[in-house]
């Protein structure tokens, strides 16, 4: 079968699989977050942390819970790395330096999983399993909790309560992430992904030189790495490494895991607001943009600049031969369209247009279909802006799902949207003004600019994928990128929770023929247009000097 043919078959299998689980998983997640019952293991957890699971919180308390939990997580993760020398399974890998420890702690707690270290040489298994893997679960659960709180803002009326943040985090982790991750860790092992607690195996290469091939508990982290849209590999080559992603089946399973929760969450949303078509409309927007970007990246990779480059096989530079162009494009599109950031090839080697596509995916604010939870709340924020503008055009104070969009809603939605572009633009601008930056770049000219832009887009969007080529171990990059991850994660979260509180306190306006319909092709076009427009207007000047200049050269 030709490469392209295989690509289409894989794409078909992926879409069918997603379609099959969409309803059951989406409805199951809705039940998880609306059920009154607590599992036994959950009750034990609540007792340990002294939380009354039946009490509900205002948005401020909810937000304080998210921030407090994340702060403690950062501290614990930082300490684990700083104390690695005394932890078991460290294989002599010593303490990590403060800059790397800070950057990594922030990176995993914010669901970014930007990695400025080489895991198999610096991280022992204890930090990996007790630190990084745990954060892979709970950072995704935090995203889910925030998204659910926002949905409750739409569902509820005349209340200041959004739910219980501890219950939402625990349920997301215990009832959704753990079972699916466990199941797929087994599946991945069955397909050849490695699972080992040893340091590695020593082999003598054909050249007679001794090599140590690192081993790690890969499968257990691999499944949640994708499922929780985390993306931090336990091995440096990430999903391009044959121990993480040995063949096209595991490749497909990993892409499926990346997309399954963000996609199904739109169903959860539709079910919770009592109108499933509302969820379908959001899914359609995500799907259209995802498909459009996939087409762009796939085409760009299959048609690298000039016939000579094509003949020379330039499209395969930085790609694994076992995946080929289509599977790499599919993976790259899915990992940048969600906040995953796992890679099965080198994004730095993507063509000007293809790399620009991956970059643009992130600059959409991660809504195609976005990270676990973050994708849903981000697209809802965009929907609020779109409905506000369009709502004016039908001659009513704009309302979405029965809630009026006034001053407070627009302010909070604006802050949520504004955070990422601010960080990317200021960050890239400042980085390019630094004298040392040119030396840190792997390329000069337009591609070098793309590398800087990509680094700040990846961290500010909590994606974590690396364009590579850029050396980010300097204190300047470790700290600025760390700050970008923190602000890029928590400013939108606080704004979204404030928005949720404001929505929940409103009464519900009944729908009429004069209300702007928020389902159907018209709304889908409008929302997709708004996402495209905001991203385009904000980033076209910067992109013109990076990927666009590269592509038009």
């Amino acid at each position: 079968m030709s490469d392209t043919g295989a690509g289409f078959v894989q794409l078909g299998i992926l879409l069918v699989a997603l379609a099959v689980v969409y309803r059951p998983l989406g409805d199951y997640m809705a039940r998880v977050f609306t059920s009154k019952k607590h599992l036994k293991v959950e009750r034990v957890l609540y007792r340990v942390v002294r939380v009354n699971p039946d009490s509900e919180q205002r948005w401020t308390t909810y937000a304080a819970g998210v921030l407090g939990f994340s702060f403690v997580s950062v501290v614990v993760l930082y300490l684990l790395q700083r104390l690695q020398s005394v932890l078991p399974f460290n294989f002599g890998r010593g303490t990590l330096d403060p800059a790397t420890s800070f950057n990594t702690a922030v990176s995993f707690v914010t669901n970014t999983n930007w990695q400025s270290y080489v895991p198999e040489t610096v991280m022992g298994h204890t930090v990996q399993m007790a630190g990084l893997t745990v954060q892979n679960f709970v950072s995704a659960a935090v995203g889910l909790a925030v998204a659910v709180a926002l949905v409750r803002g739409f569902v509820r009326a005349k209340t200041d309560r959004l739910g219980n943040v501890w219950v939402d985090i625990v349920r997301g982790a215990v009832r959704i992430l753990l079972p699916i991750a466990f199941l797929f860790a087994i599946v991945l092992i069955a397909f050849g992904t490695v699972m080992s607690l040893t340091k590695g195996v020593d082999v003598t290469g054909p050249d007679g030189v001794q090599h140590t091939i690192a081993l790690a508990p890969v499968a257990s982290q691999e499944s949640i790495k994708e499922l929780g849209t985390n993306g931090g590999g336990i091995l440096n080559a990430n999903s391009a490494h044959p121990f993480e992603n040995p063949n096209s089946w595991t490749n497909l399973i990993e892409i499926f895991l990346i997309l399954v929760i963000p996609v199904s969450l739109t169903r959860t949303f539709g079910t919770m607001v009592g109108n499933k078509r509302q969820g379908t409309a959001l899914l359609a927007v995500m799907g259209i943009l995802w498909a459009g970007m996939l087409t762009l990246i796939w085409w760009a990779e299959a048609h690298p600049n000039g016939p000579a480059a094509l003949l020379a096989g330039a499209g395969m530079e930085g790609k694994e031969t076992r995946f080929g162009i289509p599977s790499t494009a599919l993976f790259a599109n899915s990992t940048t369209g969600t906040s995953t950031g796992a890679v099965n090839g080198a994004h730095d080697s993507l063509s000007g247009l293809g790399g620009g596509g991956a970059l643009l995916n992130m600059l959409f604010s991660e809504i195609t279909p976005g990270g676990v939870g973050t994708g849903l709340y981000s697209i809802l924020v965009f929907a609020i802006i779109a409905v506000f503008l369009a709502g004016l055009m039908v001659g009513r104070t704009p309302e979405y799902l029965g809630k009026k969009l006034g001053r407070r809603e627009i302010t909070t939605a604006s802050i949520a949207i504004l955070a990422m572009p601010t960080l990317v633009l200021i960050g890239s601008g400042v980085a390019l003004m630094m004298k040392d930056t040119a030396g840190a770049l792997g390329n000069s000219g337009a591609h070098g600019l793309s590398e800087v832009l990509y680094a700040f887009a990846s961290t500010s969007n909590n994606n974590g994928s690396a364009f590579g080529g850029i050396t980010v171990t300097s204190n300047f990059f470790q700290s600025t990128l760390g700050v970008c991850m923190l602000l890029g994660r928590f400013i939108p979260i606080i704004a979204v929770l404030c928005l949720a509180g404001s929505l929940a306190s409103q009464k519900r306006v009944p729908e009429s023929a004069g209300t702007l319909p928020t389902t159907g092709p018209q709304f889908v076009t409008m929302l997709a247009g708004t996402v495209l427009l905001v991203a385009a207007l904000t980033f076209v000047p910067a992109l013109a000097l990076g990927p666009i200049a590269e592509a038009l050269a």
Partner: protein, 701 residues
């Protein structure tokens, strides 16, 4: 101070009938005269003051940019830099102009109102019953003043004694005098209006300086104008867009520097100004002022911009049946003969009995005879001899005695008794017909005749409420807009139902008492709906205050006018529908121009970005799809287009986007197509055309 001609600003005064005829037409456009642009220029220049600009974040950024570019243009003068600086200033100026023109129209109106505020001398009644002459401004609330024919009423108040005709044209523009009398719902008088006949005693209800005319002046001048909630939300969104573009442009400099060519401040500022939503930023306040003004042109005074906005959101309209849905009086619509009588016999008898009957019902009977049966309007010579028997509360009949023939018409029971009294027999058929008419919601009038000693019933006249023409279509439109109409009437449920069905309203409230109205409003509001209503009586006041949009009739009591958030000077309740449309039009205009403004940016990117960077990356020249002459002409063309589009859209901002009642979906499709897609295409053409012209300027480069 503006030289706006009064012709432009004279309020069109339409009688209620004219309004009814206009039912179904779209909201008409306000007047705009290009001369206003010129006459408002001094005001616009005055607004260049930075303190004024601070109120509008978008235009403030342009103002700062203009200053910056001017400084750089002076230090490094070239045709390009000076032209760019000039056009940036024009951008600010045009925005000011839009606001000044909108305000100018209100000012002219205030001027004409002020003229009515003459110094008056009031004849105050002392405690001893003696009159004393005091200046009008010394009146206090509760003072009693006497006003006689030819005198100007010194202040707002209620008539407590007497009845008079009053010329209210100074306020309403309506020249026909109106009747004001003590008690009832026509007791309110407005200071500055003139009594034409008789003598009334007025109890003053407002302090001087806070009178209706004072408030009106403040409103139309925009002195008390505050940003409405939606305007604030939109301003926030526009500010956020401005911040994003500011960041994008600021971050561009280090990127350009890294790429090999720093950009000049002039070019970066030009890019920024072109990208931020200047079009809507410049026109936003003009749109709000013009929205209020459109109401004023229809003789409606909104006490706040918030009320106008709320009008666009209304979900439920409460409409009084009488005067709004039906004509004020019942009319004869059918003759039903009984017994041996023919329709012509009945018509002849009915006409005879009504010839001298001056009541509206009586006149409508004669009209029906003329229309359907070809009888004469005027009484013939022999008929004039007849003696009219007027209606009294005791007999509950009226009629005529002519040449020994007696004709009577009246309520069924009274006429039946009269026939029996004169030895006649009332057939059962009469009861059947009378009951039938009652059940259909009509009022039966039985006609009987006593001639040659025999009394007999001729037949029954059906009096019905006649629904104003075009109402059904209007209600259909409202339904399409998602607005529910509820008819309020004192009639019994049966009658109410019949009329509700005929008029096509969605619901009705029969035998309505003021507290029922209130309960209905509360119930609707509980469900999250916005309610609009009209009212004039004092007992309407609580409901007017409770409703989200309460339109008080100018003829109503001062309590009603105080409680509502709008006053209709024409006292035409049908206008509520127009008010809703104006409210919607206001929001649509804002949304449409915002969309247009943002959609414009695409073309500007295609003009400016290749111009800035083609020197660094020649490949970016492919983005110059408009084939603009040179980088300088490309940038300047975009700046000029950006400024000119503001002027081009001033008429639209003042007039409002055309609005036809239809569903949200259809409206959105239309507006997205025109202002979204149009907003993408128009600037490509505009910038290309401007470039064709300015490339001819020598030295532009």
């Amino acid at each position: 101070m503006t030289a706006t001609t009064t012709k432009d600003t004279q309020r069109t005064s339409e009688s209620p009938e004219q309004h009814a005829e206009h039912a179904g037409r779209s909201v008409s456009a306000g007047v705009f005269n290009p001369k206003q642009l010129w006459s408002s220029l001094p005001d616009a220049l005055r607004k260049l003051n930075p303190r004024h600009q601070l109120k509008n974040p978008v235009m403030f950024v342009v103002w700062v940019g203009s200053v910056l570019v001017t400084v750089f243009a002076i230090s490094d003068a070239s045709v390009f830099s000076i032209a760019t600086a000039l056009w940036l200033w024009f951008t600010v100026l045009f925005a000011n102009l839009a606001e000044a023109v909108a305000e100018g129209r209100g000012k002219a109106q205030a001027e004409s109102l002020r003229r009515t505020k003459k110094e008056t001398v009031a004849r105050r009644l002392g405690a001893n019953g003696l009159e004393e002459r005091v200046p009008g401004i010394d009146l206090k609330i509760g003072d009693l003043v006497v006003v006689e024919a030819g005198e100007v009423i010194p202040g707002d108040g209620d008539v407590v004694e007497g009845i008079a005709t009053v010329d209210e044209s100074a306020i309403t523009g309506e020249s026909a005098p109106v009747i004001r009398e003590s008690g009832g719902d026509r007791s309110a008088v407005t200071g500055g209006t003139t009594v034409l006949s008789d003598r009334i005693v007025v109890k003053i209800t407002t302090k001087p300086g806070e009178s209706f005319v004072d408030r009106m002046i403040a409103l139309v001048e925009g002195a008390s104008r505050q940003k409405t909630p939606n305007e604030i939300a939109l301003t926030i969104l526009l500010s956020v867009l401005t911040i994003i573009f500011l960041l994008a442009v600021v971050a561009l400099q280090p990127m350009a520097d890294y790429s090999g060519k720093q950009q000049s401040v002039i070019v970066l500022t030009a890019l920024l100004v072109c990208l931020i939503p200047t079009t809507i930023g410049a026109l936003l306040s003009a749109i709000g002022i013009a929205g209020m003004d459109r109401l004023v042109q229809r003789n409606v005074l909104a006490m706040s911009g918030r009320a106008v906005e709320a009008a666009g959101d209304v979900d439920t309209l409460l409409l009084d049946k009488t005067g709004t849905i039906t004509f004020g009086n019942r009319r004869a619509t059918e003759f039903v003969p009984v017994g041996s009588s023919t329709v012509d016999d009945l018509a002849a008898a009915a006409r005879l009995s009504s010839l001298a009957d001056g009541t509206p019902e009586g006149r409508s009977i004669v009209e029906l005879c003329v229309e359907r049966h070809g009888l004469a309007v005027e009484a013939g010579a022999n008929e004039l001899a007849g003696e009219f028997v007027p209606f009294t509360a005791q007999t509950r009949m009226s009629g005529i005695d002519l040449n020994g023939r007696q004709v009577r018409k009246g309520a069924a029971s009274s006429v039946r008794a009269w026939v029996v009294e004169h030895g006649g027999v009332v057939p059962d058929e009469v009861n059947t017909v009378v009951d039938g008419i009652s059940q259909d919601g009509g009022t039966p009038l039985v006609v009987a005749e006593l001639s040659e000693g025999v009394a007999s019933v001729r037949g029954v006249i059906r009096l019905s409420d006649v629904v104003k023409p075009g109402m059904r279509e209007r209600f259909d439109e409202l339904r399409a807009m998602g607005i529910k109409t509820v008819m309020i009437t004192g009639d019994n449920p049966l009658t109410a139902k019949a009329i509700a069905e005929e008029a096509g309203v969605d619901d009705f409230l029969a035998e309505a008492k003021p507290e029922d109205k209130m309960a209905l409003i509360r119930k609707e509001q509980e469900g999250g709906k916005l309610v609009a209503m009209t009212g004039d009586g004092t007992n309407d006041a609580p409901a007017l205050a409770q409703a989200d949009v309460g339109v008080a009739m100018n003829t109503g009591t001062s309590a009603a006018k105080e409680a509502g958030n709008m006053v209709d000077l024409d006292s035409n309740p049908t206008k509520l529908i127009e008010i809703v449309e104006i409210g919607k039009q206001l929001l649509i205009t804002r949304g449409a121009l915002t969309t247009f403004s943002i959609a414009n940016d695409l073309a500007k990117y295609f003009a400016i970005l290749p111009a800035m960077f083609v020197a660094i990356y020649p490949g970016l020249g492919k983005l110059n799809i408009m084939h603009l002459h040179s980088p300088n002409t490309a940038i300047l063309s975009a700046v000029i287009f950006n400024a000119l589009v503001i002027v081009a859209l001033i008429p639209l901002a003042l007039r409002g986007v055309r609005y036809r009642p239809s569903s949200a979906k259809a409206l959105l499709r239309r507006n997205l197509l025109i202002y979204g897609l149009g907003g993408v295409i128009v600037p490509f053409a505009g910038i290309w055309l401007i470039d064709l012209v300015i490339r001819l300027i020598p030295g532009i480069g």
